[in-house]
Symmetry: C2
Subunit: 589 residues, 2 copies
Amino acid sequence: MTQYTAPLRDMRFVLHDLFDAQALWARLPALAERVDADTADAILEEAAKITGQLIAPLSRNGDEQGVHFEAGQVTTPDGFREAWRTYREGGWVGLGGNPEYGGMGMPKMLAVLFEEMLYAADCSFSLYSALSAGTCLAIDAHADEALKATFLAPLYSGQWAGTMCLTEPQAGTDLGLIRTRAEPQADGSYRISGSKIFITGGEQDLTENIVHLVLARLPDAPAGPKGISLFLVPKYLVEADGSLGARNGAHCGSIEHKMGIKASATCVMNFDAATGYLVGEANRGLAAMFTMMNYERLSIGIQGLGCAEASYQSAARYACERLQSRAAAGPQVRDGIADPIIHHGDVRRMLLTMRALTEGGRAFAAYVGQQLDLSRYAEDAGERERAQRQVALLTPVAKAFFTDNGLESCVLGQQVFGGHGYIREWGQEQRVRDVRIAQIYEGTNGIQALDLLGRKVLADGGQALFAFTSEVRAFCVDAPLHRDALLEALVRLERTSQWLLEQAPRDVNLVSATAVEYLHLFGLTAYAYLWARMAAIAQRKLDEDPAFLGAKLACAEFFFQRLLPRSLALEASIQAGSASLYGMASGQF
Amino acid sequence: MTQYTAPLRDMRFVLHDLFDAQALWARLPALAERVDADTADAILEEAAKITGQLIAPLSRNGDEQGVHFEAGQVTTPDGFREAWRTYREGGWVGLGGNPEYGGMGMPKMLAVLFEEMLYAADCSFSLYSALSAGTCLAIDAHADEALKATFLAPLYSGQWAGTMCLTEPQAGTDLGLIRTRAEPQADGSYRISGSKIFITGGEQDLTENIVHLVLARLPDAPAGPKGISLFLVPKYLVEADGSLGARNGAHCGSIEHKMGIKASATCVMNFDAATGYLVGEANRGLAAMFTMMNYERLSIGIQGLGCAEASYQSAARYACERLQSRAAAGPQVRDGIADPIIHHGDVRRMLLTMRALTEGGRAFAAYVGQQLDLSRYAEDAGERERAQRQVALLTPVAKAFFTDNGLESCVLGQQVFGGHGYIREWGQEQRVRDVRIAQIYEGTNGIQALDLLGRKVLADGGQALFAFTSEVRAFCVDAPLHRDALLEALVRLERTSQWLLEQAPRDVNLVSATAVEYLHLFGLTAYAYLWARMAAIAQRKLDEDPAFLGAKLACAEFFFQRLLPRSLALEASIQAGSASLYGMASGQF
């Protein structure tokens, strides 16, 4: 029953109309030679085909069949192996990868749109690819030349896949508690021993080799997070000529049975004196791993967008077909037994909520992608640095706000279906189960919020934040639509931030007590900024495509009228501070 | 892994301290002879045992194993048959039933607390009982003496079970579209033919007989909702001596595969010239069915509370045991590797949100129960009528607000567990899947909201609403705690209601455009009222039980500081009206 068609029209709007990608890429030398508007459009069209026609049709069976584990081997659902082969032959794993080693070097602003399609088609399938792309990023940024030369090309090509081995039973959020050990060997390699849990794609039958990035402790390492190093541990050792050698001591002990993403293998990985290679400097592993984690954070945020878009498409289609009752304004389809429920106000409220959050998120994802591209490719060091600070500020917002909105949207998309939304065959309940994990993994959304408020806003005295709000304020000067509402939201964010800057030093609990609501306030304000920008463009170009751009204006109106008011509640709750959270002793819970 | 312990201390607080049940029951003659505080406490203790020790342990396996369907037969999971036998022997199905036919005649204010325990223990098991109790209520209120004499006693005793057959593929929310036919027979019975879907417990292996209440059309019935009649259709016909006779033409064609409540059989029921008996008047079936539907609406609301309480208990226990990172205020357990996450502000925010919503909801459920008891048992006709109007007003709020909060709470209770919340064995994800249906069935929450705003608030010019707000206002006069915040919320509800009363006649779309947010605004205000009342009592009696009552005061503080501000956003969104929902044509979605 599940169908998915990539929203190409809206993606082109974001890329070309909203962010003028062609002009941006033209002034970044590394990108100018690789990509222009036409190339980007061709890539998006090809991506739409592979996600809509190859991957999306696997999703329902993937959920029903799930992955199977027997004697250390994982079997993915029917069709996954064949689809992976086609997928990897298209070069999609390396879409944003370093061209020196076989990556396609495409801009992130383009890649985020592709990632959204991929998650919309099937979350489980996407993860095998997303983890590989992140592994490559960390290797490219931190590994020595020999490791890069050996591992990057087969990872980019999807012949091999990557994983991220952080969590241990006693060490989840608190990675300082990691116990996995690394013993230096005479040949410069290490022997890695320990157990990791929740390892996505730790074992699978899609690729010839699996490259694990593993956090572990050297014998003399200091306790806590500053004593953690990063190691590359392949499933099969690699010979000098690049061929596969001996089986390494990295084995899957079992897989988890989960609420959703059932076609993704979530593995317990046992490292038993496995051969590993140090990536980056000793005891600086957490910093190196953050290269991958930041990539995955944005990617997982986009999982929220993809699921929401797919759920919206099904819900909108259903609402236009399902006949129940008459519209409040009187019969709309006189010869039918009833009117399509799309005429019902509450159904519209649900669909527009999904759409305003998803399109706002899509624009925000591309905005973060733009900053990532600037931080990597801008010629001016100052510009790279400014963009890097914005990326650091915006990444936790993207991860948590996209995925919180993703759950809300998928729940609404299920609700539009009434009873059928609860039945498996219709596919809407799978979206709810699949998207739910995105609020949890890659650092729970509570941890993202702490990162935003504590490390990104307060730690630099609000500098990165105010750089962002200045940009919004500058836009307001000439904003033709929604200026007052945007300004009001902006002032609310600035006022709340200022208050937190003043109060936090006096109350150690304030940050963790208010961070989640602060992140939502930030997210709503950022969406308001992007909706106002999109509305301005839609109004200016309305004649070019009245149906599409008229809908864009209507969605913007809905966002400002019905969703942005949520910021009122968030501000009030934040201003209430931490006291009411600490009125009970632990034993009273 | 799932454990559940009925919150007896809080239930006694609600019953005795908040609502002074003993005094209420003493003045209602029918109840005075049946129940006092000691009886009620004994019943609650017995209920805690059967739900905590007999039913809750079946829940995980019930989810994994599910119900099975083969050749028209449904098999419930291991242990369900034995548990049902013990359960029915305790007389629990007939707890609130008419004593003339074997019911226990206990007050609803007590029964709602029992129902909460039942849903907390296992939603699927609960449904077999809840549908039976509702079937009895409709039969008792509308059937003739012969039907009552034949069917009520074995239903109350749990020897037989009941179902509610409304939905057809083309007729969900819009019951006017029902096509099932009823042909009158010479002996006064009817032949029922047609198909019903989503029939909970339509077939099962727990009881000897199943009694279906079926909506169908007589040959000469007018079109639409005023041409629907209600019929009792047993699985096995019943002989004059009460023994089972021939198999009737009511068969289960298949069962649904669902997101959750997997141990509840959701059946397609085919009626093939099945013998049925008219219940109540011809063409007045919808009104008669509403007796059952209103019962089920409150019951399903309580499903939201039960799931939230069970999820809270697990999450609070986990938060006190799980060690990760150090508290912001410095180490709390110096010799541990880290502090329990209960010291972390955001974990407290999540747990307190769950608790404030669940305890507020529990008080509200008992409040509705009190009104139901008054509407049934008060000596004064005027008092019965006033209570009946309050029941009509409050029932949709209970159904929708409890279940929306139930999902929010179960999602939070899953989030507290981090990655483990997504793994099936821990049980938290099952709560999310099980509670989700409660927002959909028994009339989606969108439909509840339409009922509240359209039929219960606007249709009588706000009379029932202002009767409720007057009670709140009267309480405010002497409220010792949270008076200003409560008054502010009250004024907001009154102001918004007044605005809707004025605007609705001018805008046909206004009701459906704002109803869901209005229902939430109403619910929050009602909770504020009950939290202020609970806080007043807790403060007055604090010395009697400082730990429990101190926690109650702290929860109240949290509710007013951090949750009630949501009403700011709701008011603003409602006041934005319907226009932004109708800026797009159907084809633009």
